[in-house]
């Protein structure tokens, strides 16, 4: 039997707020988290703007002995998961621990560990490395650390699909809870890949904005790399109601597709198939949707192609949609992006406020839909979509409803 899947907790560590409440407060006010890099040497970067977690002090969250086995990405994941679980009010007793899934998206794994180790090895001719390099850098570390630190003993793994990792992870968790495979799942995404090595790699790909992230705007110049984590607690409706939990929203549909085309260029056909699949899975028609949290990276190609895909699906109704890219505020957190954006989408529906696309300079004929430029907009949102389209042509879309 298919269960309704509701969200009963969320946690966020973002460039514009270290808690879910702070994140929403700043999203709704259009606060920009993009600034010159401080955690790496920015003077050797061509594009210095990134969206870092500002004022982050690991010592506030972890003991010294724990930190020796936790890469920054796992720290972020655990912090977000702890907040989401605390908000849900769940305690994992009486067998619930064994039934709770932990499914986390992460695109790049422990990049900081890798970067620091290789610097020591190749740059400083170190004779040996720290003994916990391997478990710190392994791609599954965020899911492993969340399961260990939060005591979750059910199915647990990391999903990697670059910029769509968290959306794929949340989608799989949603399907698992809906099917009855697990009554509860802790899901989301984490990423911390602002390292000197990866930033030089992004620089070489020639897609970084020299100024800031301006999705759907004229004169947009590319994406800005971000970092962070967001986690959600998913439960069957019965499980949540039985314990009188506060229900924050409902996930109703999930769609996926692969372009099987170009490695980097987006494909409107692939995007469209994923969006169509999410709508169909959620029993929604295009006219049911009021808000779309776009993938909206700020590259010339993505934003124009995403506009084409939305117009193809929504037809004339596309002009009535509010479509914003919160990447304009938090940058592109890659494997965490889909989780940060799904939380934003659920918050938008719950609060009746579409967050803006900031840094918007004016319209581009190739992006002629309503991207909620520069200021948040109060509006009724009954149903919404969150889009993620990854390099490698891997697409994932989630559909949500305001809970009623």
């Amino acid at each position: 039997m298919a269960h309704r899947v509701v969200v009963t907790g969320w946690g966020v560590l973002s460039p514009i707020g270290h808690t879910a409440d702070a994140y929403w407060s700043n999203l709704s006010r259009g606060v920009c988290g993009i600034a010159p890099a401080t955690i790496i040497l920015a003077d050797q970067l061509t594009q210095r703007g990134v969206a870092e977690i500002k004022g982050y002090d690991p010592g506030k969250h972890f003991e010294e002995r724990q930190l020796s086995s936790l890469d920054r990405v796992s720290q972020f994941g655990v912090i977000a998961a702890r907040e989401a679980i605390a908000q849900s009010g769940l305690t994992f007793k009486d067998g619930l621990s064994e039934q709770t899934a932990t499914i986390i998206g992460c695109g790049a794994g422990g990049q900081l560990t890798l970067d620091e180790s290789y610097k020591r090895l190749y740059g400083e001719n170190a004779k040996r490395l720290h003994p916990l390099i391997i478990p710190k850098m392994m791609a599954n570390a965020p899911a492993s650390q969340i399961s260990m630190m939060c005591g979750l003993r059910g199915p647990a793994f990391v999903v990697a699909s670059a910029c769509a990792s968290a959306t794929h992870a949340i989608g799989l968790a949603f399907q698992m809870v809906r099917s009855g495979g697990a009554p509860v799942a802790v899901t989301g995404g984490a990423e911390a890949s602002i390292t000197f090595g990866t930033m030089k790699g992004w620089e070489a790909l020639r897609v970084l904005a020299p100024d800031t992230c301006r999705p759907f705007s004229r004169d947009r110049k590319g994406l800005v790399i971000g970092e962070g984590a967001a986690a959600l607690v998913l439960e069957t409706l019965e499980h949540a109601q039985k314990r009188s939990a506060d229900i924050l929203g409902e996930i109703v549909g999930f769609g996926m597709s692969a372009d099987a085309g170009d490695l980097l260029s987006p494909d409107a056909g692939g995007m469209r198939r994923a969006i169509d699949a999410a709508l169909a899975d959620g029993g929604l028609t295009p006219a049911d949707i009021q808000y779309v949290n776009a993938h909206g990276t700020g590259t010339a190609a993505n934003d124009a192609t995403e506009t084409q895909a939305l117009k193809a699906i929504f037809g004339p109704y596309a002009a009535k949609l509010a479509i914003s890219s919160t990447k304009s505020m938090v940058g592109h957190a890659l494997g965490a992006a889909g989780a940060l954006e799904l939380v934003a989408t659920l918050m938008a529906a719950r609060e009746g406020l579409a967050p803006p696309t900031i840094n918007y300079l004016g319209s581009d004929p190739a992006c002629d839909l309503d991207c909620v430029p520069n200021e948040a907009r109060p509006m009724r949102i009954d149903a919404a979509l969150s889009n993620s389209f990854a390099f490698g042509g891997l697409n994932a879309v989630l559909a949500v409803r305001r809970f009623q």
């Binding site: 070489a204 790909l205 020639r206 897609v207 970084l208 904005a209 020299p210 947009r220 110049k221 590319g222 170009d262 490695l263 980097l264 260029s265 590259t299 010339a300 190609a301």
Partner: protein, 91 residues
């Protein structure tokens, strides 16, 4: 019809650029014309980024290029050669 300017294509810079472009599009170097348009000979945006990297490595220069900018400074093989000459500071 395309015409090839052999005098321009015989110096080191021209030969180096031609070799890099030819490798990227998988064609023999002698089939390239100076007025061949990059997009028409199959140099997509992905290959263009790789071409820029190869040019920077070969000539030890930095080329400010952003794939999001639709205004290309060079659209033909000859224009790439001219741009590299300008970067190197050799006529």
């Amino acid at each position: 019809m395309h015409g090839r300017d052999m005098t321009e294509a015989t110096d080191d810079i021209s030969r180096g650029v031609m070799a890099i472009i030819a490798k990227k599009i998988g064609k023999p170097e002698h089939e390239l014309m100076l007025d061949d348009r990059l997009d028409e000979i199959g140099l997509d945006s992905f290959a263009a980024v790789e071409m820029i990297f190869d040019l920077e490595e070969k000539f030890d220069i930095q080329i400010p290029y952003n794939a999001n900018d639709t205004r290309m400074e060079f659209e033909t093989v000859g224009e790439v050669i001219a741009a590299i000459r300008q970067h190197i500071g050799r006529p």
